[in-house]
């Protein structure tokens, strides 16, 4: 922002080029995420056929111009399945990250702002973080049963503590600042303090964490569905497609290689975006070339 403000004589186009050069990560990441979101939204127009249309005559066909990613054991077009799978995988990622923002955010806010609550709340969060994410998610899925709603719940519980930690630490920093003290002195109530002063100023690390949790959730859904404890197999998601393809790994490698690129593309895009935003927000790096 300061860079742009300092150079008012440049045209908009040149400013855009300069921004793109400095913030390559953000630009490339946004591009990658946007394309996959567009693919998901316009799936019926992008996909050449229905994701569940059987064509037993053309089963296990390698990639060709008629079937871009090849076909599976039931003759279904893998490209169409990946395109429709984007809808489910992105929806899971978005819902999980949103739930983490709300639940983890609320916990972090309470722990950071009301000191007596800090100990008990954060110990609960630590408890959830004291075993590997995937194990907690598997355990929750075993309890809840495999379904689309349950995978969102399981992954949200798994990743919410991360958000709580980030929100807590940024609230802890902000609440000690002079302007919060000033607002308190002027008689602002807690709700106003939080809404007007603390939350807006603690926002940037939270946005960064949000993109990372979005990425983790997509990886998490894929892993759980791949293990067969996630989304039911009839719903095409990137995880279920890879799980089905695994059986034919010796005969039809395209079933596992190509759909994986969809996950890689999306998660890489989200990570580039998150890293880029963090660099932009970091006052130490601001104004320097982004590396």
């Amino acid at each position: 922002m300061t860079d742009l403000a300092r150079t008012p004589q440049l045209s908009r186009a040149r400013l855009a080029v300069r921004f793109a050069n400095r913030r390559r990560g953000v630009v490339i990441g946004s591009f990658m995420v946007t394309t996959i979101v567009l693919v998901a939204i316009f799936a019926p127009w992008v996909a050449p056929s229905s994701p569940n249309a059987f064509d037993v005559v053309n089963r296990l066909q390698p990639p060709s111009t008629s079937a871009l990613f090849g076909t599976d054991d039931l003759g279904r077009d893998i490209f169409s399945r990946v395109v429709y799978g984007a809808r489910v995988s992105l929806a899971v990622g978005f819902l999980v990250s949103f739930a983490c923002l709300v639940v983890g955010g609320a916990f972090g806010l309470l722990a950071g702002f009301y000191r007596p609550l800090d100990g008990p709340l954060m110990r609960v969060m630590d408890g959830f973080m004291s075993f590997p994410n995937i194990v907690l998610a598997i355990l929750l899925m075993a309890t809840l049963g495999a379904s689309l709603e349950n995978i969102v719940i399981a992954l949200a519980i798994t990743y919410a503590p991360r958000m709580a930690r980030v929100v807590r630490s940024s609230v802890l920093q902000v609440r000690e600042l002079t302007y919060v003290e000033a607002a308190t002195a002027l008689g602002a109530r807690d709700a106003r303090l939080l809404a007007r002063h603390v939350v807006p100023n603690a926002l940037s690390p939270i946005i960064v964490q949000w993109t990372f949790i979005f990425a983790y959730a997509i990886l998490g859904e894929a892993s759980l569905s791949f293990l067969g404890v996630g989304v039911p197999p009839e719903i095409p998601t990137w995880g279920t497609i890879l799980n089905e393809g695994r059986v034919y790994i010796q005969r039809a490698a395209w079933l596992t290689v190509l759909p994986g690129f969809a996950i890689l593309w999306t998660v890489l895009g989200l990570n580039l975006l998150g890293d880029g935003i963090r660099d932009m927000m970091d006052p130490h790096l601001r104004g320097k070339e982004a590396s």
Partner: protein
Amino acid sequence: MTAFLARRLLAAVPVVLVVGVTVFVLINLAPGDPVQVMLGPDARPEQVERMRQNLGLDQPLPVQFGIWFSRALVGDLGESIFLRQPVTTAILSRLEPTLLLTFGAVFVAVAIGVTAGLVSGLKRGSWADQFFMFLALLGVSIPEFWLALNLVILFGVELRWLPVAGYVTIAEGGLWEAFRHVILAALAVGFIQSALIARMTRSSIIEVMSLDYVRTAHAKGLGRAKVILKHALRNALIPIVTVIGLVFALSLGGAIVVEIVFSIPGVGRLLIESVGRRDYPVIQGVVLYIALAYVLANLLVDMTYAVIDPRIRYD
């Protein structure tokens, strides 16, 4: 050091207790009756009732938990419903491949991560830095199991260098043969985890290289290699070791997914199979074991601090 160890081990008890309660409550909330699963849909009600009594499942939940946890503390995790053997035996018999895989993965992660981070940090902004940091970004973005599947296709199916599935125990085929069966899995998990180590090593080295004592070491005429290895790296090690501890724990989790890809009969596969069979005692036991491994890994990291940095003492 002994007092510190005792204190830390005592502090681990509540953590394990919290994990134990969480697991126990979650498992008991799960729909589906394990006895019904065991006996099949045709079982008579009195058969089901007798089995429930035998397994202690007719007791109130807190009582069941009390019995389970007090036995777990002395290493008795109960009997597997499906395997008809003690849970501890089931876990121990699957431990070898998982441990071999985890240590292999940590070795790969440290070798790639520290090298990449060191080169990146010392040659900041160079093409090597950009290359390694892109590799690290790939590492945090690739799904472990997909990387594993690609390794299977490349080294197992196409080149036929390494076995693609299964495991041969050290007792059956010797250490090398056992290791051959987990190399690809360890590479997959290790590469993913090396990303964390590379990033941490890079930032840690960049910070240390700008400090006064490094300039002094240069000024007194020490060779570059000596400055880097004896002065910079050693002081940059604390955050790196912390991440390595985390990587150990993450590898343990990553091993679960990758064991399925390679059909390695380890603890992870036992967990997934038990979820499918609703074999509750085994699920509880495996999760408790993993939580314990997590706690021990962290303890090991804390003890390593004192070895790296003599200023840190645990008296």
